[in-house]
Symmetry: C2
Subunit: 319 residues, 2 copies
Amino acid sequence: MNPGSPSKAPSVAAVDWGTTRLRVWLVDEAGKILAERRGDDGLITAQATGFSTILEGHLAAMGAPEAMPVIICGMAGSRQGWLEAPYVTVPAPIGAILAGAARIPGQRRDIRIVPGLAQRQADAPDVMRGEETQLAGAGLPTKGRHLVCMPGTHSKWVLVEDGAVTGFGTWPTGELFSVLAAHSILRHSLGEQPKPVASGNAFFRRWCEQALADGGDVTSRLFSIRAAGLLQDLKPDDAAACLSGLLIGGEIASASHRYGKGAASVVLIASGALGALYTEALGLAGLAVRTVDADEAVRAGLIEAARENGMIAGSGVAA
Amino acid sequence: MNPGSPSKAPSVAAVDWGTTRLRVWLVDEAGKILAERRGDDGLITAQATGFSTILEGHLAAMGAPEAMPVIICGMAGSRQGWLEAPYVTVPAPIGAILAGAARIPGQRRDIRIVPGLAQRQADAPDVMRGEETQLAGAGLPTKGRHLVCMPGTHSKWVLVEDGAVTGFGTWPTGELFSVLAAHSILRHSLGEQPKPVASGNAFFRRWCEQALADGGDVTSRLFSIRAAGLLQDLKPDDAAACLSGLLIGGEIASASHRYGKGAASVVLIASGALGALYTEALGLAGLAVRTVDADEAVRAGLIEAARENGMIAGSGVAA
């Protein structure tokens, strides 16, 4: 809430509802954010407590009117969520994706969930849910060919051509880091609680460059991190930086190979420390980077979805 | 024990002592196996119970004389083992590796542990412990260039030139399969207890061929297994075959790229179902395979180590 601006009535609630957390924004008719609320009651909690109960609790705490519509993106729309919002098959224009939001039956309010995307190629099946909304809010030009990177647990790379998603892929980089750090032999190298890797780290840079040179082959170097601990006295925090550089460099090499033909630049939708690491790694790969803040992108995408679904008016620029 | 052959006195006990299990053979002066015993008291158990207690228990149960010497290979020689048998740095002749066995002090018997191998290149550090003994027992020609694959939890690929190890690498293929199946999002795709993959499986073959074509880049296709479950109704046992094909194909592509320059054939040291899977995958990669049974190789290597350390006579052909 910005107390300095003239008070306006909210018109729609926008909800980013992921696996472990949720964020709610109240938005006015012009697409301006009036209030924000965050909770740890993501999909996993909601499966036990009930999606409606959790949502209404947050809306009541924010003083939202009873009839106000709600637009939702994220894992709440998955098979394990509130209602499965069917996947839209790519290629698909971004606007059409948003307009296909699925309405939840039996609710007092008009509550809709943005669909995910499915790539149904026999040899490269893939899905996304939540990132399509970030993509819609990234302010991509409606013309031209754009390569988009959305890093995270399951990093998504998306090819957007003339405003339509024409293909995408998933690299489970964040998950590989967590699973290998906790459950593989590398746990002996990284220790119990490896310090988060900061950009500028020399180990991160060296292993990232090596992975870029190896063209996406990361499995050949995983065990080297363990061996470097035994033979070269590599320290746990440095080992974590090596693993991070190896996996991120490998992701970029692999995705560039698949999508980057002729691409000299990437739109990076990310925030905070992860955004800084990817900016550095993309730079090492020789790619120019335009960064869009991930939090702002999902908000803007939800507002755009509210417009596409007639919940608020017009087609003004998102706040 | 072969009751049909003339009874001979054992001269040395040979022990393959791994992380979770151990095998003991009594061997006569000519290098002939007289008796075998297996136990689940590998390194992990021995750390608690005591290495000497476990070894003497097995030897007593086999009726081994008190003064009989013992040759050991495997993780018992690691830093967490009975005694750290220092690594031999490659390049190194295989015979010299075996001859460098480290004697355990303060024992009634002459007990020695075969050293592991270390590759100390700054950009490709690596270690092995146990596989060097299999390698010594694989009956490689003393001349020429030979590429050796030893698949497992941590698959090793070794380049042997004129009887010397000149380089090696580790691909943690078995561990990646276990860790991803149990702890990543793929656990939803593979189910609780995926059936072991048999050779000839169509999913294994297709994903292996794809991974071979992708040149060792496996991370780009991991999530496709999950997506194929959601979009193409891929069944759990088939998903396990996909993951196995992807990881084994990726390993072979990556290792061939690193070591296979000009190599048309591979010596595969493996047993059972894993040996059959790798034989199939190496065939898909267009490589001719000569298979050596892994159990026989480690026995023969230990007997060779006993000879190199003067525990039994001569330099006859291993049994």
